[in-house]
Symmetry: C2
Subunit: 272 residues, 2 copies
């Protein structure tokens, strides 16, 4: 079984060694990556059999790959012997310019914004159809939100998402408008026509107020962050409990923070 | 060349497929990981030839692995065509319980501490002989520090490091005391005997004041964070400019924040 599983893996490795465009799931590299992909926000700790099942590979292959990932520190074991993403992988990933690099530059501006609002301050980027949250600063008594750092959410239902969609390439916008639009509350903009208008408003206004789209007690105000090439690379937002403070009062601080960060990025083109 | 390089890689892969304990650098998996290891805080963007050189593999092998890592999102290319760690890897790594999981739980306590000090507030864990910084909140006018989120520093020279070393397993402490102790200022505790005393003080006092050990204008105050099993898993610190405020005045808020976080972890044993 070992031989079969690994033999196959190696064989594929040989066949495809010069065809990087091969679909995933065939080379050893893609198997390593599928082991990492087995983990999710809902499944942060997995047994070996769960990894083998979720990664779609024989137990023996999973065992070999997991052992190598453990030796390097990409995976660790918890007290119960389950596997979890390791600190060494987090350390390498902390070098991602679009992740912690951007977050590093943004932090002082997020802090300023947090002190002005004391609820949630968020930094997010667009990744495919989702917003990916790079950072969130929250007070202990802030209104409940569904986002977490490293977590995703459908773009159209969030303030940061609307800002990022509004500045995404036209074809990406059209693809998004053509796809299904999830509804979370009766306020969620789930109609393509309304969403198209909302995106135009964002571009015209330079900010957006996302009103009770995810939960009926939360409102977010978001604005775009531009890099040194004047491209919108991220969005900042403040999420507050409905009516306190009035969202419109949050527009100036949010826009100011987003512009401040954009100006900083413009003056530090070589920042990671 | 392609055949040679990859043939060798695959051959090794076959020979060692069942010996996960093999030294790194021999299996395809270890090659994938060595590509990721090629990146560092000083080298966040690399050309293909730099990757092949730093990872110690033929250009063709590097090209194949890099292409597969790109397809998955573990690597991205910047505008100049150089490679960088990708957002997808950051997203997976965000699931590391000892990384963002701990940081998530700590954030409200770090915020409280930040508001009491307005300089730097840090959260770190011990990884081998180094402290690894999981989080840092800094004001724009804070005293200069050498740490960055995802960065390392020798444990003995920092407040968080002294706290973590003091509670590390005895054998780990002895290994550390036996090794070379880097000196950064004339205040750095670089003598094993003095360090041993300092660690005993930390255990007795429950906090430490690290006085100008890294730079002559910065002082840090640190305290231990314990998990649900009462093990010290992290350390919190505040770094301030020498003399403002007096370090001793920072001990109560730092200890309170560290105890608050420990209590939270105790009451949330299942938190990632």
């Amino acid at each position: 079984m070992t031989t079969t599983g690994d033999g196959a893996a190696i064989h594929r490795g040989v066949r495809t060694r010069d065809t990087a465009k091969e679909p995933a799931g065939r080379t050893v590299t893609s198997r390593v990556l599928s082991v990492l992909s087995a983990f999710s926000g809902e499944r942060r700790r997995l047994s070996l059999s769960e990894i083998s099942r979720r990664a779609g590979m024989p137990l023996t292959t999973a065992h070999r790959l997991v052992s190598e990932l453990m030796a390097w520190g990409a995976l660790e074991r918890d007290r119960d012997g389950r596997y979890q993403i390791g600190l060494r992988l987090w350390e390498v990933a902390a070098l991602a310019p679009r992740g912690l690099g951007l977050r590093e530059a943004a932090m002082p501006f997020l802090e300023d914004l947090y002190e002005a609002t004391r609820q949630h301050v968020q930094l997010a980027v667009l990744d495919g159809p989702d917003v990916l949250y790079l950072e969130r600063i929250s007070s202990r008594d802030a209104v409940g939100v569904h986002s977490r750092v490293g977590g995703r959410f459908p773009a159209h239902a969030t303030g940061v998402g609307l800002v990022l969609l509004a500045h995404a390439p036209p074809d990406a916008q059209e693809r998004y408008l053509a796809g299904p639009l999830a509804t979370f509350t009766d306020r969620t903009i789930a109609d393509p026509g309304r969403l198209r208008w909302a995106l135009a408003d964002v571009r015209r206004n330079g900010y957006v107020i996302s009103d009770r789209q995810v939960t009926l007690d939360a409102v977010s105000v978001a604005a775009p962050v531009r890099d040194a090439a004047d491209e919108v690379v991220a969005a900042l937002s403040v999420v507050v409990r409905l009516g306190d403070p009035r969202p419109v009062a949050l527009v100036p601080p949010v826009v100011a923070a987003a512009r401040g960060l954009s100006r900083w990025l413009l003056s530090h083109p070589d920042h990671p």
